[in-house]
């Protein structure tokens, strides 16, 4: 079984978000980049499937050479090989089209994406990709079992979970729950050494035109100071919520 794990390279969750060039671009200066948290759950799941289903795992990122450190980390976690499609990730559409083109050359039974990235976080790439490839699709995926060509999986829905099955190929949007946080594979020395021997292919991009363009970024306006209410004057809090904020 061939598994593709799509990795988004994102600013660490503690990063301060700033913009440059007249607010038209993200300021990556001094920002630490990591594997998108939702993708990390998917990657660990893929590595487990290597053992249980004799799967072959490829980690892929669409991006410039700066994403390679993140791909090396994926190799250290247990991916068999890594691929970088060589172009900036303009928007979800162009990223999905680039991945689609690769999937038409190399066939995959299972494509694991994250539910959403924590940077541009549209939650768009997995659905787009499934639509483009005409694959089955599940997002907010919290469990997945594969037997032969059949997948059984569940997804989080409002107030519960829904369990389904389908034939492969399948695209999933992974999130916490697919594996537990305590089960995430943390690269050890051996993994890091082995990663050096694995291939990281750089393949040329199709040069797809994006369909959306982020023209200008802004930050939320500074909030006015918090209104404090004394612990023994809770009537006042209720009054403020009712009559000032009008939310009760």
């Amino acid at each position: 079984m061939n598994i593709l794990v799509c990795i988004s390279n994102v600013p660490d969750t503690t990063s301060k978000i700033n913009f440059i060039e007249n607010d038209s671009n993200f300021d990556a200066n001094g920002v630490q980049f990591v594997i998108n948290p939702n993708d990390e759950f998917g990657l660990t799941k893929a590595v487990w499937l290597k053992d249980s289903n004799q799967a072959n795992v490829t980690a892929l990122t669409v991006g410039d050479s700066s994403v390679e450190a993140t791909l090396r980390k994926c190799l250290a976690i247990g991916a068999d090989k890594a691929i970088r499609i060589d172009c900036p990730a303009h928007d979800a559409y162009s990223v999905a089209k680039e991945i689609e083109a690769h999937c038409k050359e190399t066939s995959y039974d299972l494509i694991i994406c994250g539910r959403e990235s924590i940077d541009y976080n549209g939650g768009l790439v997995p659905g787009l990709l499934a639509g483009l490839l005409d694959f089955n699709f599940v997002t907010n995926c919290v469990s997945l079992e594969i037997e032969g060509s059949k997948a059984t999986f569940s997804r989080e829905i409002s107030g519960g979970t829904e369990i389904s099955e389908c034939e492969l190929p399948l695209v999933i949007g992974s999130q916490k729950g697919l594996v537990e946080e305590s089960d995430l594979i943390i690269p050890n020395m051996r993994g890091i050494m082995m990663a050096r021997q694995k291939t990281l292919d750089v393949i040329p991009a199709q040069g797809i035109n994006p369909k959306t363009h982020d023209k200008k970024f802004s930050k939320p306006t500074a909030k006015s100071e918090v209104k404090l209410v004394k612990a023994d004057e809770l009537d006042k809090l209720i009054d403020l919520l009712e009559n000032e904020a009008k939310v009760l």
């Binding site: 969750t13 970024f217 918090v226």
Partner: protein
């Protein structure tokens, strides 16, 4: 030409977030001089849509669509997009609607934009404001393709009444086949979900242990609110994963967010920032949450929460 709004229903009732999507669709359609058409699936109670301005409502009546399927629903919507000659589709940001929107944009080769918080800033070029970097920033994004699929953040536009008497059309659509089928749905009954809630009551490690959630649930009950929690609380198994909110958990965009015994770490705030009004209850006046909140009470949650419940009940 018409702006299409997908109106989601559950157990034959429309979701509140879909009413908001319809109001948004109406305002956008007025802006560009088009009609607005609601699309509902297997739900005949269309009268409740009257206040929100649809010119027409199409009810796709098809037993094949009785279970939600992003693929089948997307192909059904494409039929309506064709018959109504629609280039713009509006959806809410409920899990199913976002799921459907992404797939729909894949098969229609269109621009999809999610987390939208306002009407277009300009129609030519077509630019929309959306949140990004998990609510730490906004982006003004241009949509370049002719067909545009837009998913709006709940509680960002609000309900704007525009009474109308829409023309109702019931159609039947031949569905595409799919080998993906639902085996089972497990639902907690009675509780309000975070995605649908107007009010969310959330608690953190300050609560000391899972046994102390009785008062949190009781406060939520009193307010008709959903319950949520910080990440360590779900990691420790005090509460289910589905309640974990924040940058790596669920996003919250409720009208009121009450945070009890939560310090206000950057990853927590990122996920709840788009809630309208934030209240913090914490015994540490230095807790970062006080910088992010609108209202705050400094004190012991174990005294404040029961007292608050009592006062709310006495209202």
């Amino acid at each position: 030409m018409a702006v299409l709004v997908y109106i989601e229903s559950e157990n034959y009732k429309f979701k509140k977030s879909s009413y908001e999507a319809l109001c948004y669709g109406k305002a956008l359609a007025d802006n560009i001089g088009e009609a607005v058409c609601g699309v509902v699936i297997n739900c005949s109670d269309t009268e409740s849509l009257n206040p929100y301005g649809a010119d027409k409502v199409i009810n796709i009546n098809s037993p094949d669509l009785s279970d939600f399927s992003s693929k089948k629903y997307a192909h059904a919507l494409i039929e309506v997009m064709k018959s109504e000659n629609s280039k713009i589709v509006i959806l809410s940001s409920s899990p199913n609607s976002k799921y459907l929107g992404a797939y729909l944009s894949g098969i229609t080769d269109s621009s999809f934009i999610s987390n939208v918080v306002d009407l277009p800033e300009s129609n030519k070029p077509f630019t929309l404001k959306r949140t990004c970097f998990t609510n730490k920033a906004f982006s003004l994004t241009e949509l370049k393709s002719e067909t545009k699929i837009i998913s709006i953040t709940s509680n960002s536009f609000g309900i704007v009444e525009n009474p109308n008497n829409p023309k109702i059309e019931t159609i039947n659509i031949k569905c595409i086949d799919s080998n993906q089928k639902i085996l089972n749905i497990e639902k907690e009954t009675g509780s309000v979900t975070i995605a649908d809630a107007d009010i969310v009551v959330s608690a953190g490690r300050g609560l000391k242990g899972p046994e102390n959630w009785t008062m949190i649930e009781s406060l939520a009950d009193t307010l008709g609110a959903a319950t949520a929690c910080s990440k360590p609380v779900s990691d420790m198994g005090w509460r289910p994963h589905s309640e974990h909110v924040g940058q790596t958990g669920k996003p919250v965009s409720s009208n009121l967010y009450i945070a009890i015994g939560i310090s206000g770490a950057i990853q927590h705030l990122a996920g709840i920032n788009s809630s309208k009004v934030k209240v913090v209850i914490n015994n540490d006046p230095e807790a970062p949450f006080f910088k992010a909140a609108d209202y705050g009470v400094i004190g012991d949650a174990f005294e404040i929460v029961p007292a608050l419940i009592e006062k709310l009940k006495a209202r």
